[in-house]
Symmetry: C2
Subunit: 157 residues, 2 copies
Amino acid sequence: MADHEDRVADFTPLEAGAWGGLLGVHGRLMRLIEQDLAERCRISHVEFEVLLRLSWAEGRRMRIQDLAADSVLTRSGISRVVERLERVGLVIRESAPEDRRGAYAILTDAGLAMLRTALDGHVVLVRARFLDRFGPDELEQMAAWWRRVEDPDDMAR
Amino acid sequence: MADHEDRVADFTPLEAGAWGGLLGVHGRLMRLIEQDLAERCRISHVEFEVLLRLSWAEGRRMRIQDLAADSVLTRSGISRVVERLERVGLVIRESAPEDRRGAYAILTDAGLAMLRTALDGHVVLVRARFLDRFGPDELEQMAAWWRRVEDPDDMAR
DNA sequence: GTATATTAGGTGCGGGCGCACCTATCTGTC
DNA sequence: GACAGATAGGTGCGCCCGCACCTAATATAC
């Protein structure tokens, strides 16, 4: 005996639905996204994200450390991503004049063109598989929830 | 010239808040979770998940393919996870009598004990960093949203 | 000034995992 | 029965990335 009642502490069904659902949705979407970007553009999602953030930046350039902050990768990971992107001509590296330890990653015209192609299909995919399932009010609600998670002080509802 | 207006097609701010927030929250939480499980139990999150699902299963055993389905890993990945868990005595492998191609991964008593330790702290962490920021009604709403994403036919609100 | 601590970026090493492929087995057709 | 195709699980190869560490440069203390 002592075979049943071997249960372990666990999430409640409510918690499991919310947390497990997040994990599941993220996993499935990321798999689709990686596959899509690889097929259409031969780049990974982290590479895509670096290109995108460079396109947003003033002068289409960012310091490596700033790319690493708020990325899923560490500085060493970003360093290698930039190296790969440079090898195929989508970005170039330039030493920073104001701090000669540092370096900029700069989006090339080829990189911008590639990003446009990548982003077009990417937006279609993410909308079809995720965003279009929600109304504007719901998207706003969701964004507010994420902000609540990010900011520990924002516990007030 | 032709320097500005080099913008690319992109998500709306509303969409970026919802989709980017999901990516950010997932990334940050996963980093914390991986770190926590590694420090306290020397296991990764995928290893933890395999132990957890085995503990749920009838007879604390599952086929490798069933573990792979609804996992973030492929069959080969699961195969290696089970190999690692077997090497440290948390699971054992057993050939399936009803289909001699197949194999079961079976949670050992040591595996169950480890899972209890891992899960206790894990639940505390996920609640503190995520679940406790929402009320029961909100958790229910969130779970419903994830179901809506998973099921393409469930587009009706 | 010099000495020390900190920081930016890069790299050798090791581990994890997907892809393609292998073997063994099961299933279906004849 | 024989045989083709599908399926379960495992594995060699290659890629990716975190960790620890390195070098060069900057910031701080004295």
